[in-house]
């Protein structure tokens, strides 16, 4: 298992390097002129040239990339060209925002999709049809639409929760919860729909298996049968879906953060890319890829915990 994990970590590092290199190359092909954007529409050619030199844009691309990489491996991701804020500090401010809504969304999806999926598989009938119907609806409606509706109805019309803004957890757990509730729900709807379907399907299959019949005949309680034996075997496919959902939620956060005025990684990625803020884009990409690698690693570990056969293989 350790050798397997080491291989995965090495592959993850290579992945980060490849994506960082590609991103740096692509950013140079966009034709954006950050020096002009910063200096302003009416700045003279000389001012723009001075700004470009200040940003190091007068150097060849390989030199710029080597410079960035040599600093990045030492943990220095540079400073934003537009705000001068160190990228690590900017990401440090924004990462908690995105992680709060994504992890809360993921937790909501995990809990609700298991509850709905198991209920649909076990009860069947109208409940099963209702869950499947809702799942299709939840899957079809894009998260930004859910976000817009929640913001308009729950925040603006009813005034139950804030329409915009983020409050750090350490400042006020209650306000933090309020600030992330709607974005997390908006993100979770699609994920719940997809994962609930997966849990339902797996549970239906597992419940038909011989060992379940055997356990039932031996008098094992229905509760233990469902959650101790059936769900544990039905969980791995759902976990795969959930891990993919995490990556999906990270991308969904770009839009949802905008609707709720949250300055997270998604918003940062959006504005940095549109402005051509290369250090910030690179920082965002590295952090996002690292998160994806980490989640996949955790899922591998979880597989092993859930299914001993994986550990052996």
């Amino acid at each position: 298992m350790i050798a397997f994990l080491v291989r995965r970590v090495v592959a993850g590092v290579v992945l980060v390097l490849v994506i960082a290199t590609l991103t740096f190359g692509l950013m140079s092909l966009t034709g954006q002129d950050p020096a002009r954007t910063i200096a302003g529409q009416t700045a003279s050619h000389e001012q723009v040239a001075q700004k470009a030199a200040e940003l190091g844009l007068d150097r060849p691309l390989p030199v710029r990339y080597a410079d960035w990489l040599s600093h990045a491996v030492r943990g220095d991701l540079g400073s934003s060209w537009f705000t001068n804020e160190p990228v690590t500090s900017a990401l440090g401010n924004k990462l908690p925002v995105t992680l709060s809504i994504v992890l809360a969304g993921l937790l909501l999806s995990a809990v609700l999709s298991v509850a709905l999926g198991v209920a649909a598989a076990v009860r069947g009938g109208w409940l099963d049809r209702a869950v499947q119907g809702l799942a299709i609806l939840g899957f079809a409606v894009p998260s930004f639409l859910v976000a817009l509706l929640l913001a308009l109805v729950v925040a603006v019309k009813l005034g139950w929760l804030p329409a915009t803004g983020y409050v750090p957890l350490e400042q006020s757990p209650s306000l933090w919860t309020q600030s992330i509730a709607l974005p997390a729900i908006a993100l979770a709807v699609g994920a719940i729909a997809a994962t609930a379907q997966q849990v339902r399907g797996s549970m239906v299959d597992v419940l038909k298996m011989d060992y379940i019949r055997t356990l039932r005949s031996r008098g094992v309680s229905e509760r233990s049968l469902l959650f101790r034996h059936a769900l544990r075997n039905a969980a791995p496919p759902a976990l795969t879906v959930l891990s993919l959902q995490f990556i999906g939620l990270l991308s969904g956060a770009v839009v949802v953060e905008k609707v709720f005025g949250l300055t997270g990684i998604g918003t940062e990625a959006n504005s940095a890319a549109s402005q051509g803020d290369v250090p910030m884009v690179m920082g965002v990409v590295v952090v996002m890829v690292l998160m994806v690698v980490l989640v996949n690693l955790l899922i591998d570990v979880a597989y092993g915990w859930l299914n001993p056969k994986v550990r052996v293989s």
Partner: protein, 509 residues
């Protein structure tokens, strides 16, 4: 199972707690109490060091902490502030400022002429917009503690007014020398940055500077700035009372804002949109060298319809590029080119183009789809064959500046008359990519640069008239913005400003 149950319970409790939290705002802005003013700038804060400072929407970040040498009234005329008097010498190149003697920066350093010198020479070294306005400064001399003498390399009729904005803001000379402004601002303004209640990129909190000399001009005890870029988020934040003021960039949001009881103020920040004719000399497209052809292009556009359909009413039709607030503006010039496609065709025929001519223009449909569609249609109606060149929108400015297109749709800043001339009216202006010049206009510009008062205003008007008569461009309208405030807060729009300065906000009571 136990884990799942715990997770389910935790989620339920979390959501219940969230739902029971009621309507209090996430940022705790306090709303329109008179104590706190919460605004939502459209842009992220730029660096605190004034040499890296931008203008426009960025100014609201600097105004709480940095006081400026002069202040601009709602018409953007300079009034006394840190400088109590100012006057030029006879050549209009040496400006003498008399300064207040009772002002200190928040780090205890005294504000004096040496501080003015330190600031102007420091800001000037930058590459951002504020620095650009100080490039004309040749030297600064501290005559005595309360007198500063600024020498310009050439007369700049906008220079004094620029000292009322970011270019004239004063930071502590001690902090400039120590290089600490990149971490936090140190000024002498009405407020100081509350670092504990500030998170870079999402919320900036400013609390009163207890030693400020003019507290009564700033009625709010606290200023909170929360950058919001999404139009829907801005509208929702206003409607739910989380912010007290913001610009609405989407005209479709104005009606919902009004129906929610918000106050909407429409104003012209200083941008003119329309068809810019870059190749007035006919270098690339020969037809454009004939004034009758350029006049025909002006007659081709139904400006009222464009504003109504493409801008949903947010615009002021115009045939001139000079701002209505400035002395160069002449309302009668707007009647010169009323929509008349028949007249346009006649002028084209007189110029020798009875079947029109062909012109290539850059694609702007990604950002201005309605404008491009209307422009193409109305030009086609008079026989001009428009070929749209697909380029990424990021490359628009560099392509235009490189003289790649003879004419194009564009939005160009138009502030004070002199600014407009510098931006596009002179042979070496940045936005004169084909270096077109007219000796008569050049002569008038030179006279205006050295004149003052009414004589200067008259010259500006003559320049404007020449540019409209000769159809240098075919502008459509002055872009209008909508600034929205919640109940309990009033705001006075500011001429030439993308957003009102913080001192234009007052509690309604």
């Amino acid at each position: 199972m136990r884990r799942l149950s715990l997770a389910a319970a935790a989620t339920a409790v979390t959501l219940l707690a969230a739902a029971c939290g009621g309507g209090s705002s996430a940022g705790g802005s306090g709303g329109a109490t008179g104590g706190t003013l919460t605004l939502a700038p459209l842009v992220q804060a730029q660096p605190w060091d004034l040499k890296d400072a931008g203008l426009g929407n960025n100014t609201q970040y600097y105004q709480p902490v940095y006081d400026s040498l002069l202040r601009l009234d709602p018409k953007a005329d300079p009034v006394a502030n840190l400088a109590t008097e100012w006057s030029y010498d006879s050549t209009n190149t040496v400006l003498t400022l008399k300064l207040r003697t009772d002002v200190k920066f928040t780090d205890g350093t005294a504000f004096d002429a040496e501080a003015v010198k330190a600031n102007l020479t420091h800001t000037q070294t930058g590459t951002n917009e504020a620095a650009g306005q100080l490039k004309v400064v040749k030297s600064v001399e501290a005559v005595d503690a309360s007198t500063a003498k600024i020498t310009l390399s050439a007369p700049d009729p906008s220079f004094v007014a620029n000292l009322g904005s970011v270019a004239g803001m004063m930071a502590s000379p001690k902090a400039i020398q120590a290089g600490t402004l990149k971490n936090e601002p140190v000024g002498s303004g009405p407020y100081t940055l509350d670092k504990a209640a500030t998170t870079a990129g999402s919320v900036y909190t400013f609390v009163r500077n207890p030693n400020y000399w003019n507290t009564s001009a700033f009625p709010f005890d606290k200023i909170v700035l929360k950058p919001l870029t999404d139009p829907t988020a801005v509208l929702n934040a206003l409607r739910s009372g989380q912010v007290n003021g913001a610009v609405l960039t989407n005209a479709q949001n104005i009606a919902p804002a009004k129906s929610s009881g918000l106050t909407v103020s429409e104003y012209t920040p200083g941008d003119v949109e329309g068809l810019y004719i870059w190749d007035r000399g006919g270098t690339k497209v020969k037809a454009l060298g004939d004034p009758r052809v350029r006049q025909a292009l002006n007659y081709a556009f139904d400006r009222d319809a464009i504003v109504k359909t493409a801008k949903q009413g947010l615009g002021e039709p115009t045939a001139q590029v000079f701002n209505p607030t400035g002395s160069a503006f002449d309302a009668s010039l707007n009647q010169k080119y009323t929509y008349d496609p028949a007249k346009a065709k006649q002028l084209l025929a007189e110029a020798g183009y009875p079947n029109g001519f062909e012109v290539t223009m850059p694609d702007v449909s990604a950002v201005f789809p309605s404008q491009q569609a209307l422009m193409t249609q109305q030009l086609t109606d008079i026989g001009v064959k428009v070929k749209i060149d697909k380029i990424p929108v990021d490359q628009l400015i560099s392509s235009l500046l490189a003289g790649k297109y003879a004419m194009s749709y564009f939005v160009l800043a138009s502030f004070r008359p002199w600014d407009t001339i510098v931006i596009q009216g002179q042979k070496d202006s940045l936005w004169n990519p084909f270096k077109y010049s007219d000796p008569t206009v050049d002569g008038l510009i030179q006279q205006a640069q050295n004149a003052t008062g009414d004589a200067q205003a008259a010259l500006f008007k003559q320049i404007n008239t020449m540019m409209v008569d000769q159809a240098w461009n075919a502008p459509w309208d002055f872009v209008e913005n909508a600034y929205v405030t919640t109940k309990g807060v009033t705001v006075t729009p500011q001429a030439y400003a993308a957003v009102p300065p913080i001192y234009n906000f007052k509690p309604a009571n």
